[in-house]
């Protein structure tokens, strides 16, 4: 049986729609009353694992799920060995450095060396500031990172920005982008290599159902 790891939250509805185009009906996971974490399709060919966003690459990398849908931001942060198969285009957002609007910083390079930067994505932030050759102290937070500059704990944050409204409402402004992120269909490399049809037909059907250039 094919196992697919799906992320709870913003990507779930679109993920279910893409798998529907490949003939796999995971709509039961969208039911508000559903409390099951492992949901089979009515056809019995596949099952979905309903997991947290950050856990999708883990289930796929260990081979417990052959396929999964997760944001590029999570893949870049966790750096696990999964095969990126299709850019699904939805869930678009950007990873950005943001500061208080009143701070006067206009570029990341303007930040003072050894200042504190708060983020949930410390691996991405570390890679970015290393490339800038700017030494910073990274502070890991699990959420509401906007509070870092507001409370004075950090000079800047590195976080996902979709519409920018949360930043604006908290008096912050994005000054530089690290990368653009969209949802990706990922696979377990060894399972994909050993596949003799069932997985590749699903991947091809999802690719065909994905509008070209939808990620831009």
């Amino acid at each position: 049986m094919i196992t697919v790891a799906l992320a709870k939250g913003a990507l779930l509805k679109d993920s279910v729609a893409r798998f529907a185009a490949a003939g796999l009906d995971f709509s039961a996971v969208l039911d508000k009353d559903n409390r099951q974490l492992m949901v089979p399709t009515p056809c019995g060919r596949a099952r979905a694992l309903l997991v947290r966003n950050g856990d999708v690459p883990t289930y796929v990398a260990y081979g417990q799920a052959q396929l999964g849908v997760v944001g590029y931001d999570v893949l870049k942060e966790h750096q696990l060995p999964v095969a990126q198969l299709v850019d699904l285009g939805f869930g678009g957002c950007r990873m950005a450095v943001a500061v208080q609007e009143s701070s006067g910083y206009v570029r990341a390079a303007d930040l003072p060396p050894h200042c504190r930067v708060a983020s949930k994505f410390t691996h991405c932030a570390r890679e970015y500031f290393d490339a800038l050759d700017l030494p910073v102290e990274l502070v890991h937070l699990n959420g509401s990172v906007e509070l870092g500059p507001i409370t004075g704990m950090s000079e800047a944050i590195v976080d996902l920005v979709a519409t920018g409204r949360t930043l604006r409402d908290n008096g912050l402004i994005a000054i530089e982008d690290l990368f653009q992120s969209t949802a990706r269909l990922v696979g377990h490399p060894l399972s994909i290599r050993l596949d003799n049809g069932p997985l590749s037909s699903i991947v091809e059907a999802i690719r065909a159902a994905t509008p070209v250039g939808s990620s831009s």
Binding site: G63, Q64, V86, D87, R193
Partner: protein, 392 residues
């Protein structure tokens, strides 16, 4: 707080140890039939040896705190190759060696800190054979080895074959950093990385079709011939697959040729292979190997004999797969020697010795028991043992 072993270190129970021993002994008997001699390479080595000339990343090695740069072996090939090129340098080739033992790797644990992976492996190395005859012997030996392990057809054993010459063909149009990036993307099966490279659409399509090119040797080589023309390595691979077909069929092993299949570390310089089975919930690699002439050369072998190839079987995942089958084989004591208060331990131990001389497994009740009934109860509680009651 209870004392815990280091994360990832193996702390096995008697049944697991017994199954490991049985598996390694079964494999050893096959290696001996094929004329391989046992060696026991050191667990601790200098980092320079362990990194196998850069093929293995130093971050994978469990390093020891010492004045010298030392670490625990992440595999045994480098140490055996060094021995083959130094103290066994004058021995007749082909030189056939086998070894079994634990190997150690390290990685960053998700929660931070170091996670050690300790694994028992058993494998063979064949030195001094330049042609594909070495691969024919090794893969035939691998088939004989898995026959003795008793894998089931339901575990769908599949032999994945790749060759550095096939990968070189795929990468022939590229050079420098781009070549390395494309190689990594092909090995990782990263289609999006291939699509993102600054290449002509035609070139990307070619790479993507090669990434999807896998199957029987006939299918794959026909496709590659149409793309690159006939190459000397194709005939070598055809011969190998034809030779293996019968043995593979008998073991229900499917052979899959895959031009973009390569291990990440660049130890291999010819054929590479992995034997993969269906585990309880995901595919499990139970054996891996290939040709590593460059490593033998780096170990100081003269050019005309710098040839080496081998494979290793991972015992722990094999034990997990066959543990249900082998449950009955676990060695249990069958006699309980107990003595009454009128007798003594010394006389009971004499009786135990006589059981041992008959080849029977006998254990002692080390304290005097008040009655035979009590001794019978103990014998029953310990797994229905036969009671030898010592009472003058």
């Amino acid at each position: 707080m209870a004392l815990q072993p280091a994360a990832g270190a193996k702390d096995l129970n008697p049944r697991q140890v017994e199954t490991n021993r049985q598996l390694t002994e079964r494999l050893a008997s096959v290696y001996r039939l094929w004329g391989y001699d046992e060696v026991s390479p050191p667990r601790v080595e200098r980092l320079a040896t362990l990194m196998a000339g850069g093929a293995i990343d130093s971050s994978d090695i469990v390093r020891l705190v010492a004045d010298d740069p030392l670490g625990l072996r992440p595999e045994m090939t480098a140490s055996i190759a060094r021995a083959a090129c130094t103290r066994f340098a004058d021995r007749q080739r082909p030189l056939r060696l086998w070894a079994s033992g634990t190997v150690f790797r390290t990685r960053s644990a998700d929660e931070g800190g170091q996670c050690i992976e300790e694994n028992l492996q058993s494998g063979v190395e064949l030195f001094g054979v330049s042609g594909s005859e070495a691969e024919m012997e090794l893969l035939s030996l691998l088939m004989a080895s898995i026959q003795t392990l008793g894998l089931q057809a339901s575990q769908k054993p599949r032999l994945l074959l790749g060759h550095t010459a096939l990968m070189d063909l795929v990468l022939r149009p590229f050079s420098g950093t781009l070549r390395d990036q494309i190689r990594t993307a092909l090995i990782d099966f990263d289609r999006l990385a291939i699509e993102s490279f600054d290449l002509a659409e035609e070139e990307k399509s070619r790479l993507l079709s090669l990434m999807d090119c896998r199957g029987t040797a006939d299918q794959v080589l026909a496709q590659l011939t149409s793309l690159c023309g006939e190459q000397p390595v194709f005939e070598e691979l055809r011969r190998l697959c034809v030779h293996l077909a019968l043995a593979a069929q008998a073991q229900a092993v499917t052979i899959q040729l895959d031009p973009t299949f390569q291990p990440h570390f660049e130890l291999y310089t010819g054929l590479v292979f992995q034997l993969v089975c269906d585990g309880r919930s995901s595919p499990v690699v139970i054996a891996r190997g290939g040709r590593y002439d460059d490593l033998v050369s780096r170990c100081g072998a003269k050019d005309y004999r710098a040839f080496g190839a081998g494979f290793s079987l991972a015992i722990d995942p094999i034990r997990e797969m066959i543990s249900d089958l082998d449950a009955a084989a676990h060695h249990q004591p069958d006699v309980l020697v107990a003595f009454s208060t009128a007798s003594n331990l010394e006389s009971a131990m004499e009786r135990q010795r006589s059981w041992h001389q008959q080849g029977r497994t006998a254990v002692m009740a080390l304290e005097a028991l008040a009655s035979k009934q009590e001794a019978e109860q103990q014998a029953k509680a310990q797994g229905d043992l036969q009671l030898d009651w010592v009472d003058p």
